[in-house]
């Protein structure tokens, strides 16, 4: 040994890496992926493969030929975006439109800002909302769970529980009539309900949440803030008028709330850095979601809520600092 290596401390590293975190998220998404295959069969498979493949390809082409950087597709983040976009689409969604959505997600949502870590909005949600606004018919046709396993474009469709609830209340049906049409809590928890391919099974999403907490990929604050504030807000509405507002449990278990709270709102670069900021952001998402679900034009509002709060993140990070050590003296 001739020369000694000299560098500043620390001289050791935790071994954590971007790849570990991104592949960790992919592992955490596997239960929900399995659930989407179980309930929506071949359609979910086509949607997922198309979305993930397009995201990887789009990132490769953009980084190599447009930005002229070393392609970063092996870090796992493009695959995460692809999976999340697929989870947010109905399982009978046409391939051509998935490709458009995936290109928008990666191109507009991520690479145009400089790639991993730079995107102010959740890329998968940018793709989803683009598709929702551009192709509202295709984006709101929901294959029946289990029954549509063997079919793709021609799957038999029905309404989502949130849509049934919203239209029922709007058309003046009695609350008990509506409840009779929607799946039970147990069915919602297990995922036996219409909806986007990856959002239906609450239990699968919770398993993924547990895995990410165990591996310290995310902290619990944002999901708990989103779900908690949704529960409290809908709880108050339900208490004020039980005949016009669904129960908190219904709101938590239906639609994309779990998927959004656990996997979409926690996107690193589009969420706040300080714990207090995470609470504000999470509560904002919950409140906006319930507001859209209750008074808005759409039956579901989690995607818009997350994107709106994404826009506030720079402001939150500027004004909400972590709690400093030694700020207050305990006398």
């Amino acid at each position: 040994m001739s020369k000694l290596l000299v560098s500043h401390s620390p001289h050791v590293h935790s071994g954590d890496s971007v790849n570990k975190n991104m592949y960790g998220v992919i592992i955490a998404l596997l239960p929900a992926l399995a659930a989407s295959f179980w309930f929506f069969g071949i359609g979910a498979l086509v949607v997922t493969l198309t979305s993930v493949a397009t995201c990887l390809l789009a990132e490769y082409i953009i980084s190599k030929y447009i930005l002229k950087q070393k392609p970063s597709i092996t870090d796992g983040s493009a695959a995460v975006t692809g999976l999340l976009l697929a989870f947010n689409l109905p399982s009978n969604f046409p391939v051509a439109l998935i490709i458009i959505g995936a290109i928008v997600a990666i191109g507009m949502g991520k690479m145009s800002f400089g790639g991993l870590g730079q995107n102010p909005f959740n890329p998968a949600l940018v793709g989803r909302v683009f598709l929702l606004i551009s192709y509202p018919v295709q984006m709101t046709s929901w294959p029946e769970p289990v029954a549509s396993r063997g079919s793709y474009i021609d799957a038999s469709t029905g309404a989502t529980p949130l849509a049934i609830m919203k239209e029922g209340l709007a058309s003046g049906s009695s609350y008990s009539e509506i409840v009779a049409q929607i799946p039970s809590y147990k069915e919602l928890f297990l995922g036996v309900s219409g909806g986007s391919a990856g959002e239906v099974a609450a239990i699968a999403l919770l398993l993924g949440f547990g895995y990410m907490l165990w591996k310290k990929i995310i902290s619990w604050h944002i999901p708990v803030a989103v779900i908690g504030s949704t529960a409290i807000f809908t709880g108050v509405l339900h208490a004020v008028d039980p005949t016009a507002n669904a129960t908190p449990l219904f709101h938590i278990l239906s639609g994309g709330l779990m998927l959004g709270a656990i996997f979409m709102a926690t996107d690193y670069s589009s969420s706040p850095m300080a714990i207090k900021g995470m609470w504000i952001y999470g509560i904002g998402i919950g409140v906006i979601t319930v507001t859209i679900r209750t008074w808005g034009a759409y039956p579901e509002g989690i995607s818009f809520a997350i994107l709106i709060m994404n826009a506030f993140v720079p402001l939150i990070d500027k004004y909400i600092k972590p709690k400093r050590f030694g700020e207050k003296v305990v006398e």
Binding site: G114, A274, F325, V329
Partner: protein, 442 residues
């Protein structure tokens, strides 16, 4: 009930390879080079010249100010050189080189192992003796101990905290001192309590040292006012402010000294040195150094004369293994990488780590992914990602607004960053520049 601090913290692999290796005395080397700046504060003034004969324990450089420390010869022999040598930081420093002849100790020093528990000195005599003996904080900070025993006017010390945490991975010197020299440490603590005029002392020990906790609890029953507080393992619990928070739940305000919340913290190794200085009249001329690494032949806790060259010490531990690329003075989280091996062992050297490539190599830095793990890891509640960015952009005023001066440089941020960003490197730079700005404003 295990206690710990609440803000941030990380869990590096402990790697306490030498936890059960008894302290082993290393024979005095043929020559020693004793630097005059081994402490925080003014360098000491050299009292000897070339050709002088000195005894082990004889004063060779006297304290150069209030915040400074005396320095003694660690061997007997002849002063052969007074010259500039490389320091641990890579700069040069003045050092006195002594060629050893025999091993004759100053006759006032009691070199026996007999335990003396009776404390005959008054508080002011204790502080004077601690100052004379050249004792500095042996956890690595090397702040002169007699200064810490003289709280500023108007401040009252209520509790003495003894740092037996040793939260740095690999290091085990304090652990072994507690296990092997428990009575001496407790007597040392009693001396420190008397000097500070406090009736209560708490020894904080992380529970990865169950034998030390057990031993200290057992022995402390015979010492009035001393308690042992087992702590949950978490880095950087040995940080002064973190230890105070863990044990007393008090937070030292930003920019203030621990005495602001009524606490003074001394290290276990320092308490032992204080015992030797006060009861045995032995100045600080040797210390325990954990020489360790995953591939070295004879890792151990070595009692070494100050001024022994690192090269010689490595030979004692079986030589430098081929795969070692970095030699660190101190622990892996806060220690300094040595540029040269002809550096002497100084008072602050708690460990000597011989690290192979796979442990210590840095990965290529990637974009910040804003995962916020550095924010959660920071024990001072800062935003390391932001401090790095503003330091990089040389926005030092902004760095001051973001409390960069509160950074304790523990390295938890760089340790934890999934993108392997050199957070602390830049924060150190920003902190130094911010410090210059603050000083120029005064």
């Amino acid at each position: 009930m295990l206690k710990t601090f609440t803000t941030g913290g990380v869990h590096p692999n402990e790697n306490k390879i030498t936890a059960s290796s008894a302290i082993e005395r290393v024979a005095a080397p043929a020559t020693v080079s004793i630097p005059v700046s081994q402490h925080i504060g003014a360098p000491s003034e050299i009292l000897v010249k070339r050709g002088d004969q000195v005894m082990a324990g004889e004063l060779i450089a006297k304290s150069g100010g209030f915040v400074s420390a005396n320095i003694h010869s660690s061997v007997s022999g002849m002063v052969t050189k007074i010259e500039d040598i490389p320091s641990v930081s890579g700069y040069t420093q003045k050092a006195v080189t002594i060629k050893r002849e025999g091993d004759i100790w100053d006759e006032s020093i009691d070199t026996s192992d007999i335990l003396i528990k009776e404390i005959s000195l008054s508080p002011s005599e204790i502080i004077k003796r601690v100052g004379e003996a050249g004792i500095v904080g042996l956890g690595g900070a090397t702040f002169p101990s007699h200064v810490k025993l003289s709280p500023p006017p108007g401040k009252v010390c209520e509790i003495l905290l003894i740092n037996g945490v040793e939260c740095e991975p690999f290091l085990t010197g304090d652990h072994r001192i507690m296990v092997e020299k428990g009575e001496e440490v407790l007597t040392g603590i009693t001396i420190l309590m008397k000097a500070l005029g406090v009736t209560k002392a708490v020894i904080g020990i992380e529970n990865n040292k169950p034998d030390a906790i057990k031993r200290m609890i057992e022995l402390s029953k015979n010492y009035a006012g001393i308690e042992v507080q087992p702590l949950k393992v978490k880095y950087p619990q040995g940080g002064e402010k973190q230890l105070i928070k863990a044990i007393t739940q008090r937070e030292v305000p930003s920019g203030k000294l621990p005495v602001e919340v009524g606490a003074v913290v001394h290290n276990v190794g320092t308490a032992y040195a204080v015992y030797e200085a006060v009861q045995k009249k032995k100045p600080l001329i040797e210390r325990v150094v954990t020489v360790t690494g995953p591939t070295i032949k004879k890792p151990g806790n070595y009692l070494v004369r100050i001024g022994t060259s690192v090269e010689d010490l490595i030979e004692v531990a079986g030589g430098l293994p081929d795969d070692v690329v970095k030699v660190v003075s101190g622990g892996p989280m806060m220690g300094k990488a040595l540029p040269k091996l002809n550096t002497p062992v100084a008072k602050g050297m708690s460990g000597l780590l011989l690290l192979p490539q796979e442990i210590t190599s840095r990965k290529e830095s990637q974009n910040c992914i804003k995962c916020a793990k550095c924010v959660s890891a920071c024990p001072m509640g800062l935003s390391p990602y932001l401090l790095m960015t503003v330091s990089q952009k040389e926005l030092f005023e902004r760095a001051i607004e973001e409390d960069i001066m509160d950074c304790i440089e523990c390295g938890s941020c760089s340790f934890t960053c999934p993108s392997s960003r050199p957070l602390l490197d830049y924060i150190r730079f920003g902190k130094a520049e911010a410090g210059n700005i603050l000083r120029s404003k005064k």
